[in-house]
């Protein structure tokens, strides 16, 4: 080792990279390789047969895959946008409160403590068509006599999943946007008011630009584990009814473990990884841009 000296930061980062290489990178390369084979768990010898891009071709020509893909993107788009809006609303409500802010903030974080699998189970319970809280309430209030088949009818099931997803993740947005609102200097708002801005203009041109980077932090964190939705869907409907709420991740799991077709599943997994990376990089860039804008303005 004489004459060879690693610089301090590299040395400090080495353990992190070593673990990540062993647990993430190497397995990923392995799965990349196996996505070019017809590998089935039950037949180990198939691991060494190369079939080129046939797995990818069969995925791309499979309508079920594209439905799952489209549904995943749709779910993420709806959920992220609504979470952002609701989180903003919630943060502003709490910020305006004059008393009991600490209690309110704690209550607001409540859903963050639920693991996704608990969220899934809890909403499965509440949306149960026979004994669920939602149907019971609707019937007791006399809004409907029938048991609404949430989780059984495909559109309703998708709605129920979206609601569960939004319930569980809105608080991340709310808490971070609230941090932004509290950290914001008060003078610009007063100045805007004195200059005759309407409340809407004050919000749009003064508050919002300042809060934006905080919203993007929340987006970045969320996009780091968008796949949380897997747990929720797995518990609530398991992709049913008849595959109508199948997302990319549940499809991957089913192909790999129920059908034991690892090669094919790995090829699909690569699509879901690319999707996650696209989301993360997009929001990370937005974050950098929003930061730069604040830096210039304040």
């Amino acid at each position: 080792m004489k004459g060879f000296k690693l610089s301090a930061p590299i040395l400090l980062l080495l353990p992190a990279f070593a673990v990540l290489a062993a647990v993430v990178l190497v397995p990923l390369l392995l799965s990349l390789y196996s996505s070019f084979t017809p590998f089935r768990l039950t037949r180990p010898e198939t691991f060494f047969v190369l079939i080129g891009f046939r797995n990818y071709v069969s995925i791309l020509s499979n309508p079920d895959f594209w439905y799952a893909f489209g549904r995943t993107v749709l779910l993420l788009t709806i959920a992220l946008n609504l979470e952002m809006l609701l989180g903003l609303g919630l943060a502003m409500l709490v910020e305006k409160a004059t008393r009991g802010q600490r209690i309110l903030r704690t209550l607001m974080m409540f859903p963050m403590m639920f693991s996704p699998i608990l969220v899934g189970f809890q909403f499965k319970f509440m949306f149960n068509d026979n004994i669920g809280l939602v149907n019971n309430a609707l019937q007791s209030l006399g809004i409907t006599q029938d048991a609404i088949p949430w989780l059984i009818e495909s559109h309703l099931a998708f709605t129920a999943i979206t609601i569960a997803e939004i319930w569980s993740s809105t608080s991340i947005f709310a808490i971070l946007i609230l941090a932004g609102l509290l950290a914001m200097p008060k003078e610009p708002i007063e100045a805007a008011r004195v200059d005759g801005c309407t409340p809407w203009q004050t919000f749009r041109y003064v508050t919002w630009p300042f809060v934006m980077p905080f919203a993007y932090i929340a987006m970045t964190i969320r996009s780091l584990d968008v796949a949380r939705a897997y747990d929720i869907v797995k518990i609530m409907t398991d992709g049913g009814p008849a595959g109508r709420t199948e997302l990319l991740w549940t499809l991957v799991g089913r192909t790999a473990y129920s059908d034991a077709r690892m090669g094919l599943a790995n090829a699909m997994a690569y699509f879901s990884i690319l999707l996650s990376i696209a989301f993360t990089v997009y929001f990370y860039n937005k974050l950098a841009a929003a930061r730069a804008q604040i830096g210039a303005e304040w």
Binding site: V24, P27, L28, L90, R105, T220, T280
Partner: protein, 288 residues
């Protein structure tokens, strides 16, 4: 005068609207949790009742007693799951925080080539969905024979936590002024001493919250655990929750009780760290 009165009226109406809005929002947030706690305390007959029984007639801890009295008495091996969860979560948290401190310090204090690229790369490893990650891991683990062991789960969870731990700890070290450590070094400390005597104590609350966050991630993780664990040797609580579901029936009351058991540690820990957590996540936001 008239204008004054109407202005006052508008203001009062706005206050009331704000109160009502806040109340409704909080109700929506808390209701599912309250319902779970309530359901765990009432007899199954009441949960299944048609028309619904809104106000519980009697409360009992039967579900909890059944759960902890072990297999055969309508319970599941909750104590084993609990122990597994605890062992796996605590050890992977400790390791992840140690590694994360080294990494976070490097990002906060040094300038080096490819720094932001490395940071983004680190984050990207976290984006790989658990279920996609589980396929190759399952294969590798099966080859190494570490499926269904504590070691395998700990290793996976350390890797899962490192990126986020580094992000958080990086933020906390950045909040500690550089001058302090430099002053200590001028006074004769080595860099190593300066770190432990000056920077570490100042960043400690933040590091503690990073640790709790890592712990919660492990405590709640399901996608990986459901594939990499097989039996009471290593099954964690989230996977154990599924024991209450049979082919066509679900023991709702038992599930609710286990949910409460899972949520209480998470609730307590999150309450402790809530202040630091936000600080760590956002410290880089404004200063860049």
């Amino acid at each position: 005068m008239d204008e004054n009165a109407s202005a006052r009226l508008t203001r009062r109406a706005l206050t009331v609207a704000h109160r009502v809005g806040l109340f409704l929002a909080m109700l929506l947030i808390c209701l599912p949790g309250i319902w779970i706690v309530l359901s765990s305390l009432r007899p199954t007959v009441e949960i299944m009742a048609k028309p619904p029984v809104w106000i519980p007639q009697q409360l009992s801890f039967d579900a909890y007693i059944a759960m902890f009295s072990g297999i055969g008495k309508g319970g599941i091996p909750v104590l084993d799951y609990f122990r597994n969860s605890l062992i796996i979560s605590v050890s992977s948290t400790l390791i992840a925080v140690a590694i994360g401190m080294a990494g976070g310090y490097a990002f906060a204090r040094y300038r080096f080539r490819g720094k932001s690229g490395m940071f983004l790369g680190l984050m990207l490893t976290r984006t790989v969905p658990g279920i996609a990650m589980s396929l190759p891991l399952f294969f590798v683990y099966a080859r190494l024979g570490i499926i269904d062991t504590h070691f395998g789960m700990i290793l996976a969870y350390v890797a899962l936590n490192i990126p986020f731990t580094i992000w958080l700890i990086d933020g906390f070290f950045r909040q500690v002024p550089k001058d302090l450590a430099e002053a200590a070094q001028i006074d004769g400390c080595t860099r190593w001493q300066a770190f432990w005597q000056v920077e570490f104590p100042l960043a400690r609350p933040g590091i503690a919250s990073a640790a709790i966050f890592a712990f919660l991630t492990c405590w709640n993780e399901f996608a990986l655990a459901s594939q990499l664990t097989r039996s009471v040797n290593s099954k964690t609580l989230p996977v154990g929750l599924l024991d209450y579901t049979a082919e066509f029936t679900i023991d709702w009351r038992g599930m609710c009780a286990l949910a409460v058991v899972m949520i209480i540690p998470a609730l307590t820990l999150t309450y402790i760290v809530q202040k630091h957590l936000v600080g760590g996540l956002t410290s880089g936001a404004v200063k860049g």
